[in-house]
Symmetry: C2
Subunit: 258 residues, 2 copies
């Protein structure tokens, strides 16, 4: 218990350090590289921020392991103590807008999510908690999900999945007040946690969803794949973060009830 | 000249007053009504905010006219001195998120846009200027549009128009780093003015686009209909706010060159 509290305090420290480092970098020249396509980008700042986080973790907890977006650090989440890191989530927003990006950290022990953190750097909003901890945004305790009818809610999504009605996603969204596309899993899912968005749908990696999944469970949300196969906590999968109380209704509308 | 400077100072005052009024209302019960459909909403706060703006304008400039979203105040923009008002742009965001909405004011004399203002209430960001005035966001002078390749830019859009590839809009967006859907014309177009978004596409009324159009002209942007007919400054039309330097390229990709 005490051990975990200290680790969460430590995580809050290093995520703020990472944010300060990124903010400082905005006044410098940022080097952009393409990964798999012209719109799959990484910068030197993503990598340097991850290096900073990894160094801090390894220095304080030498036997802990890392599963992270850059540089091939992909320790099995189910094995031992594992820190899941996304140094800059919303890299395109970071490059083009210099805003609307997040740093994310999740911490697992033997595959059990212990806590998660999402730091919206430019808004200086830190979401943290989950597991044995209540979930906060900065100093504000976040309430659990409260039921509201679909037609009084907004949904956030990957734009392309919405446009192609992936597994009935547009059919679902057409029953709500509409879609929002923010360009980052961390930003979108933090709006789910704070109650501004009902649910989020995208094709993402564990470092994109781990922190929100842990915090979400605490607040009455559930993360699972859209297509029904198990979450593998390794590859890129189509996932949704939705209120548990709405899960059956959402699956039914999306035509995947079975 | 002096006359217009005073009017702009006055407009900055009343838009901040309107913002403060809306912010205060967030702690009270908000009454929501449907206009034309379940997702076309108005609140008592939209109406009260507009009443506040109209009363302030009529008290200071009794012979000026109003063209506004609520209560049927639709004086012809081309006739005399006309204040164009949108008391809450992004009403759905206001209701669901209590964030991400704007107050907008534009001022015309005999059909000539003299200045515009967009106030993002919760972010406390006031965009103002255009016509003879430079354009600012709060105290920061906004630079004119600087050329960047399409594949290094983001585009904001109405979600449904993007999904149905309205006049080739998705074809255009597929050549960029992607779409963002923010749920408000004011919010989206303020991000165009600040350089975070290349262009904005939606089906909107004059009170949604007048302020951004006037400020945009000053910064190298142009607002026109997507489908080629003239802007009527009265009805709801499909419009785009795009950099002048990119207009022909964008029209070409959208298949409407002629």
């Amino acid at each position: 218990m005490y051990h975990l509290e200290n680790k969460l305090i430590f995580a809050k420290e290093i995520i703020k350090e990472a944010g300060a480092f990124i903010k400082e970098s905005l006044s410098k020249t940022i080097t952009v590289e393409e990964k798999t396509a012209f719109d799959d980008l990484v910068t030197n700042i993503d990598k340097q921020t991850q290096d900073l986080l990894v160094a801090r973790i390894k220095s304080s907890f030498p036997s802990d392991n890392i599963f992270a977006e850059e540089n091939g650090l992909v320790h099995n989440i189910k094995d031992g103590n594992v820190w899941v890191l996304d140094p800059i989530d919303g890299t395109v927003n970071f490059i083009v807008q210099q805003d609307n990006f997040c740093v994310m950290i999740a911490y697992y022990e033997e595959g059990q999510g212990k806590f998660g953190l999402i730091y919206n750097v430019m808004a200086d909003q830190l979401f943290y908690g989950g597991g044995q901890f209540d979930v906060y945004c900065n100093d504000k305790l976040l309430p659990a999900y409260k039921n509201r009818p679909l037609d009084r809610c907004l949904v956030a999504s990957n734009g392309a999945m919405y446009a192609k009605n992936f597994h009935g996603l547009k059919d679902l969204i057409d029953k709500t007040l509409g879609v929002r596309v923010y360009g980052g899993a961390g930003l979108s899912m933090s709006k789910v946690l704070s109650g501004q968005i009902l649910a989020y749908f995208s094709v993402i990696y564990p470092w994109d969803y781990a922190a929100a999944s842990i915090m979400g469970e605490k607040l009455g949300y559930h993360l699972e794949t859209i297509t029904g196969e198990p979450l593998d906590y390794f590859s890129r999968q189509a996932v949704m973060l939705v209120p548990k109380d709405r899960l059956e209704e959402i699956k039914h509308i999306m035509g995947s009830e079975n």
